[in-house]
Symmetry: C2
Subunit: 685 residues, 2 copies
C-alpha cells in the first residue's frame, strides 16, 4: 500500500506538506477560502458550458439568452450566499443543513436533507472527476480518448489516498485553487484588454462551426421551458456552497463572522468568474451542442462521432491565450486539479456527515468516533463505488451526470432555508430587544426569500430534468432515507429492550455463585496461564474441561495432569463425533440446569498470532465455541491470550494504523477538549 500510493501522492501533494499539521490548528480566512471553495469555484469550469449546450437545442440564435441566464444564476447565487450567511451566524456548531432542517422542521426533514447531501457527495465525485478529465483532455488528448478509464483511475487514486489517511492540508488546497482563480481572472482581464483595447478578434476553435438546431424556431412555452432547463444546468455553479456551513468550527475566531466573510468572498469570486466566462464565450464565439456529432456542422456537414467537444473554459482559454501556450496549459492543469480537489472534498464530507448522522443513530455508532479507520473506510469505499458506477454507466460524461446533480443540492437549500425561517420565528416569539428583533426580521426575510427562490428552482429542476436523470438522484435519496430510518428503528428497539429497570433487581435475577471452567486441550503454556489466571479469580468452584476427541491424546493429558499435580479437577467430556462445540455447550447448559442462579465462567486459552493466515491455523474451534457460548444465557466467556512471537508483527501494524488520520479533519475543526472531565479523575460513589 505504502509503495503503491507514495509516488502519486508526492506528485499530487508534494513531499514537504507531510508535516503540515493544520488538522490541529484553526484556519485563517485565506486558507479557509480555498479549503471550502474548491468545490463551488470549480463548478464554474462546467456550469457556463452547460448553459450553452442546452440553449443550442434551439439553435445559435438562442445563445443570445445566455447573459439573461447568467444574470438569473447570479441573482440566485447571491441569494443563496446571503441566506447561508444567516445560517452560519445562527448555527456555528458545524451541523450544517442537516442540523438546521432537523432542529426546525423535524426529524424527517433533517433526514431528507441528509439523504440529499449523501447523494450529492457521490455526484460531486462523479461530476468533478469527469469534468476534470475533460479539462485535462483539452491539453492532453490521450486522457479524453480514454475518458472512463482515466476517470475511474482518478477515483481509485483518491480512494487509496483517503483510505490511507491523507492529512488534508490548507496549502494543498491553496496552491491550485489560487492558481485557478488567478488564471481565470487573468484570462478575463487579458481577454477584455485584447478585445476592448487592442481590438483583437479572438476566435474559439469552434467559432467556425454552425449549429443545426434540434428544434429550430422554438417559441412560446417550449422556449420558456428550454430557457428554464438552461438555467437549471447553470445552477450547477451553486453546488458546494452549502459545504461551508459544516465547517464553521474550523475557522479562527470570531468563527461565525470569518465564515460569513469567506462565504461572501466565495460568492463574489464565483459570480464574477461565471459571468466572465459566459461573456468571453460569447465574444470568442464558442459553439457547443448537446449532440455535437450531429448538431455541429463544419462547412454544412456534421462533424461526426469522433469529434471531441472541449469544455467552454478551455475553448475560451485557447482563444485568449492561444492554443498550446504555457498559460493555456497551466490553466487546464489548474482547472483539472481544482476539480479533483473538489471531488476530494466529498471524500471528506461524506464521513463527516456520516459521523453526525451516527451520533443521531441513523448510521452505525462506530462512525461517530473519530479515527475509526474501519468505519471510515467502509464509507469511503461506498462513496467511491457509487461514484465509479455512475462514471462508468454515464461514460464519464459530465453533461449527462450534471442532470442528476442539482436535485440534491436544491433539496438541501430549500429545506435548510425553510428551517431558518422557523428558527427566526421561534426566536422572535421570545426576543424583546428591538435591535435584535430588527436584525432577526431582516435575517428571516433573507432566508424566506432564499427558501422561496431555491424552492422554485427545485421545482424547475425537477420538472426540466426529471426524465433526463434527476429520477436517479431521487431514487438514491430514497435508498439512503430508507436505510437510515431502518437503522434508527433498530437502535430504538434495542435501546428500549436494554433499558435498565428503574428499581434495581426489577426482573434481573441476581446471580449467586460463579462456576469457572477452564478449557484445556493439552498442557502447554497457554493452558497453564489460563489455569493460573482462573485460580486468581477465586470463583466459587473451578474445574478444567477437556473434550475427548482422540482417546490417546486424552489419556496423555490425564497422565501429565496427574504427574504435574495440577490442583484443579480435570473433567473429560466424551465426543463420539469428534465435535468440540456441542459437548461443551451441553455441559454448560447442564450446569445451568442444576443451579439456574449460578453463572458459568468459561475460560479459553487463546493463541495470539501475527498474520491472518496463521489465524486460520489456530483458535478456530475456540472462536466457534465462543460464538455459540454467547447465545447461552448465564455465561461469561473469558479469553486468556497467549502472545506468540509472531504476534509482534500484528502489534506493529496496529500501532501504525493508530496514527491514521480520518479524512475531513481539517474542515471539521479540532475536537473540543472538555474541561469538565479531566483525564484520570476518579469518582467513587
Amino acid at each position: 500500500m505504502s509503495k503503491l500510493t507514495d509516488v502519486p501522492k508526492r506528485i499530487l501533494i508534494g513531499r514537504a506538506l507531510r508535516s503540515d499539521r493544520l488538522g490541529e490548528t484553526l484556519l485563517p480566512k485565506r486558507v479557509a477560502l480555498p479549503v471550502f471553495a474548491s468545490d463551488p469555484l470549480s463548478s464554474v469550469a462546467y456550469a457556463p458550458g452547460e448553459v450553452l449546450l442546452v440553449l443550442s437545442v434551439a439553435g445559435l440564435s438562442a445563445y443570445h439568452f445566455s447573459p439573461w441566464i447568467a444574470a438569473a444564476v447570479v441573482v440566485l447565487m447571491l441569494t443563496v450566499v446571503a441566506s447561508y450567511r444567516q445560517n452560519v451566524h445562527a448555527y456555528p456548531s458545524g451541523g450544517g443543513d442537516y442540523e438546521v432542517a432537523g432542529t426546525n422542521l423535524g426529524r424527517r426533514a433533517g433526514l431528507t436533507v441528509a439523504s440529499a447531501l449523501l447523494v450529492d457527495y457521490v455526484l460531486t465525485v462523479a461530476v468533478s472527476i469527469s469534468a476534470g478529465i475533460e479539462n485535462l483532455g483539452s491539453a492532453v488528448p490521450f486522457v479524453v480518448e480514454h475518458k472512463v478509464a482515466c476517470a475511474i483511475g482518478v477515483i481509485v487514486l483518491l480512494t487509496l489516498m483517503n483510505l490511507r489517511g491523507v492529512k488534508e492540508s490548507g496549502t494543498l488546497f491553496a496552491i491550485p485553487t489560487y492558481v485557478f482563480v488567478t488564471g481565470i481572472f487573468a484570462m478575463i482581464a487579458w481577454g477584455a484588454f485584447r478585445g476592448l483595447v487592442l481590438g483583437d478578434e479572438m476566435r474559439a476553435p469552434t467559432a467556425d462551426l454552425e449549429i443545426e438546431p434540434e428544434h429550430p424556431g422554438l417559441a412560446g412555452f417550449a422556449l420558456v421551458f428550454l430557457l428554464l432547463r438552461a438555467f437549471s444546468s447553470g445552477c450547477a455553479a451553486l453546488t458546494g456552497v452549502e459545504a461551508l456551513s459544516n465547517g464553521v468550527p474550523a475557522f479562527r475566531r470570531p468563527k461565525a463572522r470569518n465564515a460569513a466573510t469567506t462565504l461572501a468572498l466565495m460568492g463574489l469570486l464565483a459570480v464574477t468568474m461565471f459571468c466572465g466566462i459566459i461573456a468571453l464565450a460569447a465574444v470568442t464565439k464558442v459553439r457547443m451542442a448537446e449532440n455535437p456529432a450531429e448538431d455541429l456542422l463544419r462547412d454544412g456537414t456534421p462533424v461526426g462521432a469522433d469529434y471531441i467537444q472541449h469544455p467552454v473554459i478551455s475553448q475560451v482559454a485557447e482563444a485568449v491565450f492561444g492554443h498550446g501556450s504555457v498559460l493555456f496549459i497551466l490553466l487546464a492543469a489548474a482547472t483539472a486539479l481544482v476539480l479533483f480537489l473538489a471531488a476530494n472534498t466529498a471524500y471528506n464530507g461524506f464521513p463527516l456527515l456520516g459521523s453526525i448522522l451516527a451520533q443521531d443513530r441513523y448510521l452505525p455508532r462506530q462512525l461517530h468516533t473519530r479515527g475509526d479507520r474501519l468505519a471510515f473506510s467502509n464509507g469511503i469505499v461506498l462513496l467511491a463505488g457509487a461514484a465509479g458506477l455512475l462514471v462508468w454507466v454515464y461514460g464519464a460524461d459530465s453533461t449527462r451526470l450534471i442532470q442528476l446533480y442539482i436535485v440534491g443540492v436544491f433539496v438541501a437549500f430549500t429545506l435548510s432555508q425553510s428551517g431558518m425561517v422557523r428558527h427566526w420565528n421561534r426566536l422572535l416569539a421570545t426576543e424583546t430587544d428591538r435591535t435584535a428583533r430588527r436584525h432577526m426580521i431582516r435575517s428571516r426575510a433573507i432566508n424566506a426569500f432564499g427558501a422561496c427562490l431555491t424552492g422554485l428552482v427545485l421545482v424547475v429542476v425537477l420538472v426540466t430534468k426529471f426524465t433526463h436523470g434527476a429520477w436517479v438522484a431521487l431514487l438514491g435519496m430514497c435508498i439512503f432515507y430508507g436505510t437510515m430510518t431502518a437503522i434508527r428503528r433498530h437502535y430504538d428497539r434495542v435501546f428500549e429492550e436494554i433499558a435498565a429497570p428503574e428499581a434495581p433487581g426489577d426482573d434481573m435475577v441476581r446471580p449467586s455463585r460463579v462456576h469457572s471452567v477452564v478449557l484445556v486441550s493439552k498442557i502447554h503454556r497457554p493452558a497453564l496461564r489460563a489455569l493460573a489466571y482462573a485460580k486468581l479469580m477465586r470463583s466459587d468452584s473451578l474445574e478444567a474441561l477437556t473434550v475427548n476427541v482422540d482417546p490417546e491424546e486424552t489419556r496423555d493429558l490425564r497422565e501429565e495432569w496427574e504427574r504435574r499435580g495440577i490442583d484443579v479437577p480435570l473433567k473429560v467430556l466424551d465426543s463420539p463425533y469428534r465435535e468440540i462445540t456441542r459437548p461443551v455447550i451441553e455441559y454448560v447448559k447442564s450446569l445451568r440446569r442444576e443451579s439456574p442462579r449460578d453463572v458459568v465462567s468459561v475460560i479459553i486459552p487463546e493463541y495470539v498470532v501475527g498474520h491472518w493466515y496463521e489465524h486460520l491455523l489456530h483458535n478456530q474451534s475456540a472462536l466457534r465455541l465462543k460464538g455459540r457460548l454467547l447465545f447461552t444465557p448465564g455465561v461469561m466467556v473469558t479469553s486468556v491470550p497467549y502472545q506468540l512471537r509472531s504476534s509482534e508483527a500484528a502489534k506493529r501494524r496496529a500501532r501504525k494504523r493508530q496514527e491514521w488520520t480520518a479524512p475531513g479533519s481539517v474542515r471539521r475543526g479540532p475536537a473540543e477538549r472538555t474541561k469538565e472531565t479531566p483525564a484520570n479523575s476518579r469518582s467513587d460513589t
Copy 2:
C-alpha cells in the same frame, strides 16, 4: 439456501431417502460395492474411447491393437486389485495409501501420496462431470452444445448439495450404479446375441466415417510410443480403485475380508465391462479421432468443426439398442448419473483425506473434527473452484482433462505398493510362524509386482503425457505439498514455543492479584449484568471504566451512577479525539506498569444479535478493543453477553447447522465410541 437446492436435490436423490441414516450403520457388501465402485466403474464410460482416440493417430489400422491394449489394462487392473487386497488386510484402519506410504516410507512419501490424491480428487470432479455431460449430450443435444456451462452448472449443484450436507445414502448410490452395470452387461449380452446368434450387422453411427491418420504408417519406436500412450489413456479405467482402501471401517464385520471381496468383485466388473465395450466398439466399427473435425472424413471430406464426437459407450449403445430407443436413453442417463456420483465421491473423499491430514497437522486442525461445517465448506469450495477452473480452461473436454488425470493415481499406487513391500519386510523380520510367513511372503510378492508394474506405468504415463498436460497435475501436487509442509512447519514451531516448561514456574511469572475493569458506556441491562457478574468474581479490586467521548453523555452516566448508588467506583478516561480503543489500552498498560505481577481482567458487556447486519450496528468498538487487548500481555478479556430478542433467530440457525452431516461420513464408517473415557466421568487429581 434451503429453497435453492431442495428441488434439484429431490430430483437427484428423491425425497424418501432423507430418513436413510446409513451414516450411522455399517455397510453390507451389496451397498458398499456401489458406494465405492461408482468412481472406478464409471471410468469405463470414457477409458475405452480414449484408447481408440489415441490409436486413431496412426490411422484405422492401428485399431487392431486395441484388444492388446485392453489386455494390458486388464492385467494391470487385476494386479492393482490383487495388491490393494493386501493393503486392505494389512491396514484396515482406513488411512489408505497415505497411511501406508507414510508409515512405511516416511513422512515425505506420505505427503507426496496425499498431494497426489488431492490433485486426483480435483480431477475426478472435472473429468467425471465432463464425461457425464458428454454422455448425457448423446441423448440430449442441448447439453453438449452448452458443454462448459452445463458442466459448471453440475459442479455448482454438487457443491451446494455438499455444502448443505447431503446425507450420503447407500440407496442413492445403489440404484444408478446397478442400473448402469446392468445396462452395460445387457448391452454386451444383447450385442453378442445379435452378432453371434442372429448374425445382425450392427453399425455405430460413425461406422461409415474414415480416419485420416495424422501420422500414417507409423512404425518402430514411434508406434511403440503411440501404443504406450494409448495404454496410458486406457489406464484411466483404474482411477478410483484406491478409494476403497480408505473405506474399510465402513464395512460390516469381518471388515477387511468383506472389503477385499468387494474389491475383487469391483475389479471383475470393471474388467469385463472394459473388454466388452472395446470388443463391441470393434464389432460396430466405432470411429473416433483426437481431432475429429479434421481427421474424420465423410465421403473423403473432413466432417468439420461442428461435428460432435459422441462417447464410445453411447455409440455402441446406439448400434446395439438402436438410436433413440428407451434402453439407449436409459443407459445414457444412468452413465451420466454414475459419472456425477463419481464426482460426488471426490466431494466426500477430499474432506475425509483432509481430516486425516489435519490430524497429522499438515492442514488446519479444525478439519480434524467431524461436522465442522466451516472447515469442510472451505475444502468443498476449494475443490469445486479448482475443478471448475479446469473445466473452464479445458472446455469441459474429458479427453484433454484425462491427460492430467492418471499421474496422481499412479503416484499413489506406486508409493503405496512400495510401502507395502516394506511393511511385509518389517513383519517378516520378526515373524516366526511358518504359515504366517508363507502368507506374508506371498503378499509381499504380490505387492512387489504391483509396485513394479504401477511404477513402470507411472514412468510410461509421465513420458507419454507430460507435455499433454501431466505437468499441470505435477504442478498441482507441488503446490499442495509445499502448502502442507509449510503448515506443518508452522505448527511445529508453535508447538515448541508453547511447550510447558518441565519445572513448574520455570519462566512463567506467577501472577499475584487480579484487577478487574468493567467497561461501561451507559447504564443499561447489559452493563448492569456485566457489573453483577464482575462482582461475583471477587477479584482483588474492581472498577468500572468509561471513555468520555461525549461530555454530555458522560455527565448523564455519572449522575445516574450516583443516583442508583452503584457500589463500584466509576473511572472516566478522557478522549479528546473521540477514540475508545487507545485510551483503554493505555490505561490497562499503565495499571500493568504500576504492578507488573498483577493481571488485568477487562470485562466487556456485549450485545448478542441475530443477524449479521445487526452485528454491524453493535459491538464494533468492543470487538476492536478486544482484538487490541489480546496483544497486551497480562490481560484477560471477558465478554458478558446480553442476548437481545433477535438473537433467537441466530440460535435457531446454529441449532439447524449442528444437524448438518459432513460429506463422506458414510464411507468413513461410524466414529469409534471409546470405552476408555465414559462420558461425564470426573477425575480429581
